[in-house]
Structure formats: C-alpha cells, structure tokens
C-alpha cells in the first residue's frame, strides 16, 4: 500500500480531505459537515434526511452549505 503521508505540499491524509474534487484542509467547518453526514446516516432514512436538508435550505438555516456535500 502507499506509505507516503503527504504529497510534498504538506497536505497529509490526516490534515486534508477532498471536497467536491478539491483538496482542502480538514477545518472545523469540514468536521461539522462530516458530523452532520453521520447524523443523517444515523436516521436510517435517506429520503427523510434529504427532506430535512431541503427544509433547512428553504428556511434559510444555511442548509445549502451542507447539501452540496451530503447530497451531491
């Protein structure tokens, strides 16, 4: 397996993730998105999870910022 821990740019697998095709630092915001994803999975009802995100977006609760991650 690949043993390298970074690609020479300092972007190691522990400090960075790829979101929407872009390598980005694993910031607090990304951690929250990953956490939200786990919470939606835990509902065990993907359709309901999608509806919740849509409702949040309509209500202006910034659902749009997470929907691209969760539902893309």
């Amino acid at each position: 397996m690949a043993k390298s821990t970074n690609n020479g740019s300092g972007a190691s697998h522990t400090t960075h993730v790829v979101i929407d095709g872009k390598l980005v630092p694993f910031t607090r915001e990304i951690a929250l998105q990953f956490s939200l994803n786990a919470h939606l999975l835990s509902l065990g009802d993907p359709k309901r999870a999608a509806e919740m995100l849509a409702e949040a977006e309509r209500a202006g609760n910034n659902g749009s910022s997470v929907s691209t991650v969760v539902l893309s």
């Binding site: 690949a2 790829v18 990953f34 956490s35 919470h39 835990s42």
Partner: protein
C-alpha cells in the same frame, strides 16, 4: 460559518422514538446540535491522534468516543455498553436494507447479546489491530486490503450495536480513525441510500459480504486522490 458552530444546523432533529431524541432541558434541535458539535470535536482530534502513532482500538476507546458525543446530555447512557434494564437484558433492534436496489426489503436485526458484548467488541478490535499491524509492516499489501480491514471494523461494530442509541455516530469516529491509522483518507458517504444498501449487504454475512461496501469506500478514496 461561526466557530461556535451551532447555528448552521438548526432545524434538524432525530427520530422521535430515538432514545437520544431530546435531552433534558433542551429542544430536540438543540440536542441534535450538541451531538453534531461533539462528534466534530472528535473528528478534529483524529488527525493528530493518527499522526502521533498507530491507533490501538479497544472497547474502552469506542466507549470514550460515544461518551464524548453524548455525555453532557445523556450521562447515564453515554459510553455505556448495553447490559440490563432492571432484570431484563438490554437488547436493541435495528433495521437494515437487504435485497437488490430494484427490490429492496427491510430485515430486522438484534444487536449482540449484552452478556457477550464486551468480549465481542474486544474481538473485533483485536482483529483490526492485528490486521493493521500486518498492513503497516508489509510492503506488499494493496490499499484495498487496508480499506477492507477498516470496513470490517465499521460493519462489525454496527452489527454488534453496543449502545442503546447513537451507534452510527460513534462508529463514524471509529471508521475515520481506522482509515487514518492505515494511512488512508477519511471518507464521507454522500449517497446515503447506497451506504445503507451496502451496509445491509455487509450484515448478511456470506461470501465476503464486506466487499461491496469496501469497494465503495475504496472508490471514494480513489476519487479523492492519493494522500
């Protein structure tokens, strides 16, 4: 996004029948927000933890993650393995999807017997630790072998269902930690339906049932590029 993190996810709530639906003194939405924040806290610590050295899995570690997510809201049940309610064994039941995408069906599972739970978790952790040590020591292992080991850990913990609620949230931390300690990127399941379907297949337990989910995780990692 605010560094205090609560606001963006307001409006979400768990299933009403969930034991962790609503913490005393909080609304269901506040309960959801707190657990979002606490799981995010854990996910942030996993990178430095993996950088510090191999992560050794144990029932105590799994309990500590669950405790950290839920302890301020559900102190009696956070990090507590199922055991007894009064004189009765504390069994837990959960549904999983089986069948094909065209003809899905729901199958109800019972988590591992509470009397066997600690030993079962110990065995799951030891299996992963051994596989991880072999993978780290070898130059011939393929990346898929590492993904497969992490997938087995994830599925087996979920199948055991150690806690009365919040199992998938706690096990998400375990999957992330397993991937990171094997030098792989953490993953996010963007297709919730596919995740549930592949997890249901993994629960069936015949003919390398972990492979479809492992291949999906490998594909997510592959799409995200090499570390």
């Amino acid at each position: 996004m605010s560094p205090t993190h609560g606001a963006p996810f307001r409006g979400f709530r768990d299933h009403e029948e969930s034991p962790f639906f609503r913490a005393p003194g909080l609304t269901p939405e506040q309960t959801w927000d707190v657990s979002i924040n606490r799981l995010a806290d854990i996910l942030e610590t996993l990178g430095p933890l993996a950088d510090a050295g191999p992560i050794e899995f144990s029932p105590a570690l799994l309990r500590s993650w669950h405790r950290q997510i839920f302890e301020e809201m559900f102190p009696d049940d956070a990090g507590r393995l199922r055991w007894r309610r009064g004189r009765d064994p504390e069994h837990v039941y959960f549904d999983a999807i089986i069948g094909t995408p065209e003809r899905p069906a729901i199958r109800r599972y019972r988590g591992t017997n509470p009397r066997k739970l600690h030993r079962r978790l110990g065995k799951i952790c030891t299996e992963f630790n051994t596989a991880a040590a072999d993978i780290r020591a070898s130059e011939t292992f393929e990346r898929y072998d590492a993904v497969h080991a992490a997938t087995r850990l994830y599925v087996k913990i979920l199948r055991a269902h150690p806690f009365i609620d919040g199992n998938l949230r706690g096990t998400t931390a375990a999957l992330d930690a397993a991937l990171l300690t094997l030098n792989l990127r953490r993953v996010q399941f963007t297709d919730l339906e596919l995740h549930d379907q592949l997890l249901g297949t993994a629960f069936v337990g015949k003919h390398d049932p972990y492979r479809p989910l492992a291949e999906h995780i490998a594909e997510i990692i592959s799409t995200s590029g090499e570390a």
